[in-house]
């Protein structure tokens, strides 16, 4: 139930943000800001859609686990 609320909230949030932020950036010709804004907001909305519609979202912590797995032995020796 809660997921549906958050799903709607995510889309509403990005819609409202676009409505208020985009015109001022286009008027002031801040195209770099515009590109970064759109990339971040698309990432956020996409992740929110994935998470709140019940799909599995790739977890950034897993990636770091894989990167640091060669050091696992060193850390284990520190724990004893």
């Amino acid at each position: 139930m809660v997921d549906w609320v958050f799903l709607i909230l995510t889309f509403a949030y990005s819609g409202i943000l676009c409505y208020f932020e985009l015109p001022s950036m286009i008027n002031q010709k801040q195209y770099r800001e515009l590109a970064a804004f759109i990339v971040l907001l698309t990432t956020g909305t996409f992740l929110g859609f994935m998470k709140f519609s019940g799909k599995t979202v790739p977890n950034p912590s897993d990636l770091l686990f894989i990167i640091f797995s060669p050091l696992k032995g060193v850390i284990e020796s520190l724990l004893k």
């Binding site: 970064a36 990432t43 977890n59 950034p60 912590s61 770091l64 640091f68 724990l79």
Partner: protein, 371 residues
């Protein structure tokens, strides 16, 4: 060139907040599980080791007075390698800004509001952080001055109230497990208290006024936060004993539950809770600020504030994804966070300072900051 934005006193408090942030409630369990009753010695070792690390940052700031961390890395390492270094460092800020939100949500749901979904708490918390960053650095650093004072005084009240329950037998026998265990625990303590301090390199040389005094203030802030972390660890062991400390998720909070003031004042532990939420807010705001500022810097944007609100959405969604459960989180902070923070908070600044001297030191770089 850039105008002064924060005073040295505020810089001291920001350092205190950033350094205290993640540690005070979480780290004592990990330390007690390694060094047993000697964890407090490990805390002292970590603090002493931390001063040279902070000094490296202070030194870099003095040599590059009008560059923030990202520009500093780019000018020492050269643009391509420096950019890679900067992206790596920024990745830690981004990662940590949703981790801290996860901690707040988890703490609330596991200790006080078990039926509320964690996302609702994260939503309120991240909304506050995003609004704070949107208001700008001057506003947040003035707010931190007040927050730190509230937080520190609440912590001191809790410390005084808990003292009657302390049992000195819990510390004995001293050094039963030998010095190596102490230094091993100090390594993990540093990962929480010392290494995250490099976050304020986005603020320190460029936004402060008096450079010499600013470095001193950073060290003072670090000293205060170390004292508080040390007190939290030694009191947990004195009152609870190391077995309970090692097996509790939030030992400092468990500790405050031991406070008894008759029947009139119950649930005194929520003063620790309140104090902790304030420090979490400070560190999360600084991480969020540094991450957004870093992204803006890297893509050469003029206005970083436009990115705050979309970035808040990413942080919000990931704050519920990042740790599926508690066991995952406990493994993560041991096996990933400790080396991860070590590399970014110690190895990269150290290599930067070595490279700075190898490439010619003051002579080569002194004319570069004019441009």
């Amino acid at each position: 060139m850039g105008k002064t934005k924060i005073t040295n006193r505020q810089l001291c408090f920001i350092t205190l907040g950033v350094s205290l942030g993640g540690s005070v409630l979480v780290v004592s369990a990990l330390m007690a599980s390694i060094a047993k009753q000697d964890a407090w010695l490990g805390a002292i070792a970590a603090v002493v080791f931390g001063f040279p690390v902070i000094w490296i940052l202070v030194f870099l700031g003095r040599r590059f007075p009008d560059k923030n961390y990202i520009e500093c890395l780019q000018s020492v390492w050269g643009r391509p390698v420096g950019t890679v270094m900067a992206v790596l460092s920024m990745n830690l800020w981004i990662t940590l800004s949703y981790h801290i939100s996860w901690y707040v949500g988890d703490f609330m749901t596991s200790q006080s509001m078990p039926e509320t979904p964690a996302y609702v708490i994260n939503l309120v918390f991240i909304a506050a952080v995003a609004v704070a960053v949107r208001y700008g650095l001057e506003t947040i650093s003035r707010a931190f001055e007040i927050f730190i004072l509230i937080s520190a005084s609440l912590f001191l009240i809790a410390t005084v109230l808990i003292l009657p329950n302390a049992k000195i037998e819990n510390l004995q026998p001293v050094l039963e497990n030998g010095l190596p265990a102490v230094f091993k625990s100090a390594f993990f303590m540093s990962a929480f208290v010392t290494y995250p301090v490099y976050t304020i390199m986005m603020v320190y040389p460029t936004e402060t006024d008096d450079l010499k005094a600013a470095g001193k203030n950073m060290l003072t802030g670090y000293l205060f936060s170390s004292i508080i972390s040390f007190l939290a660890i030694i009191l947990s062991i004195l009152v609870l004993g190391w077995q309970i400390t090692a097996n509790t998720r939030y030992p400092a909070f468990r500790l405050a539950k031991e406070i008894e003031l008759g029947v009139v004042f119950t649930r005194i532990e929520f003063i620790i809770f309140f104090s902790w939420i304030l420090t979490q807010f400070i560190i999360n705001t600084m991480l969020f600020y540094s991450a957004v500022k870093g992204i803006a810097q890297l893509f050469r944007l003029k206005d970083h504030k436009k990115l705050v609100l979309p970035f808040a959405l990413v942080v919000f969604v990931l704050s519920g994804v990042v740790f599926p459960d508690v066991f995952y989180q406990e493994n993560w902070i041991v096996f990933v966070w400790a080396p991860y923070a070590f590399i970014h908070g110690f190895v990269i600044p150290l290599l930067t300072i070595i490279l700075y001297f190898v490439r010619g030191g003051k002579k080569k770089f002194s004319n570069s900051h004019v441009s």
